[in-house]
Amino acid sequence: MTRTLELKNITVRFGGYVAVQNTGIAVAEGEFVSIVGPTGCGKSTLLNVAAGLLEPTEGEISVFGEPLVGLNSAAGYLFQVDALMPWRTALGNVTAGLEFHNVPREIARQRGTEWLTRVGLSGRGNLYPHELSGGMRKRVALAQTLIMNPKIILMDEPFSALDIQTRVLMENELLNLWTADRKSVLFITHDLDEAISLSDKVIILSAGPGTRPIAEFNIDLPRPRDVYEIRSTPRFIELHMQIWDRLKEEVLKAYERNQYGTGN
């Protein structure tokens, strides 16, 4: 399998604080990779590096075998925080990327409307972000990113702010969209259930400072999957226990460090 995205020996320092140390992560073509790790360990930092938004202190990024310079134009990025433009309608937000690439207005509108339908928001195109619920805004953001047909999708805890029901719904939608034409996905989450049910591979990061990957698990669950139903299968439970055992140590470490203030 060819490597779509590869981070090699990445180190990121913020002043004297080493957020990420000597980290390597690779995503193969059509692969869905999740990164799990304790809060504040450097997950968003790594994703920013992969997007080309943050230059690492040391290390290299390659995209389709080429070293990355500047922004990663092959990637779409779904941010952890709300990043829709509040002065544009849902449709205006979805078509923003097409507009930046000078796609003719009519075609952009048409494709934008199609994408809104695909994420379950048909007829809502004229609403402004503040008129949408949190879940709807996430869908708009999803459509905004996917309409550009990026070869690599970077997602930073996209569903963490949603309630459980909406979350399962969106996870299934994401899997359906992903199955339709397989992209390479690098997905960050706190939620181990989410990571296992969506991914081909789960990477565990150590607690900060000096975060690095400490374990990697292949998820051999059959596809297509239903993220809700798969959680009660024996193989899922077995994987969950294995991974949780490893993750638990790191979460405890992170907790103790925060507790005693030696984190920084």
């Binding site: 990025y77 433009m85 002065w87 923003a96 402004y128 008129e131």
Partner: protein, 273 residues
């Protein structure tokens, strides 16, 4: 503890404050009008009793007579038209320049640092004193008033916009960049719209500033406008006309403010986040 005992204990410990008398809206309105009527009556009576010298304080009946004359002859509308166009022109030009300057200084750290002390100095200066210079430069016509209004509006908008540009949500910026926006597109799609939302938020202040600039400019020397009416009345010691001008000015300012509120609701109510 039973509900009865707890209730009585609470009642003993914390005696209920006496209920405040809250009048209804119509009662308030009637009282407000009463206050106005009392003030006008006092003005009239004190004037007639020679306690307030009429030469300095005028006569409310004559003041309203003057307003009536101006309205009936249609003269007032010409002057209002002049003041309004000066205000609107001053606002529009000042706002456009303020947005351009604010975005430029907000985006360029070098320019920001370079001009910072000058911007602060000019802002600290009471800028109505520019009025006489503008009249020397641009004459008694409309241009000197617009210039004064612009100089007042510019800084309100400028500060709001340069602040707004520095505080553009970094996630929105990063998102637009990831979606492929070039520097120019970033300016058009992110910086300018977010700067405009800051202009909207300072709309009342900046239109008010434009109005002050226009009227003060007229008062300093002009051939038309409400400020000119007051200036003219003052030079003939017609105190009633001075008061009449003030009343017209106040009513007009209130109407202007109302109009802005309506425009604001139409334009930004749906986008506000």
């Amino acid at each position: 503890m039973g509900p009865a005992t707890s209730g009585s204990v609470a009642a003993k410990r914390r005696p209920r404050p006496p209920r405040k008398w809250l009048p209804s809206r119509s009662t308030i309105a009637i009282l407000q009008i009463t206050v106005l009527v009392i003030i006008l009556l006092a003005w009239y009576v004190l004037g007639k009793a020679k306690i307030l010298p009429e030469f300095f304080f005028g006569d409310p009946v004559l003041v309203f007579g003057q307003i009536w004359d101006w309205t009936a002859s249609g003269e007032i509308f010409i002057h209002l038209g002049i003041t309004l166009s000066e205000t609107l022109l001053g606002f529009a030009i000042g706002a456009i320049l303020g947005v351009i300057g604010g975005i430029w200084l907000g985006l360029s750290p070098v320019a920001g640092a370079l001009f910072d002390p000058y911007v602060k100095a000019i802002n600290a200066m009471p800028r109505v004193i520019l009025g006489p210079i503008f009249i020397l430069w641009f004459g008694l016509g409309i241009i000197s008033k617009v210039a004064l209004a612009v100089s007042l509006v510019y800084f309100v908008v400028f500060f709001n916009v340069s602040q707004g540009v520095r505080e553009v949500n970094p996630a929105i910026l990063a998102n637009a960049r990831m979606l492929g926006a070039s520097k120019r597109q970033l300016l058009r799609a992110v910086y300018i719209p977010s700067a405009l939302s800051w202009v909207f938020s300072s709309l009342h202040t900046s239109v008010g500033m434009a109005f002050v600039g226009a009227v003060v400019g007229e008062y300093l020397g002009s051939a038309g406008g409400i400020g000119y009416l007051i200036l003219q009345a003052e030079s003939t010691f017609d105190v009633n006309a001075v008061f009449a001008g003030m009343v017209v000015l106040t009513v007009f300012a209130l109407l202007l403010d109302l109009a802005i509120t309506i425009i604001e609701r139409r334009l930004i109510a749906r986008r506000a986040s």
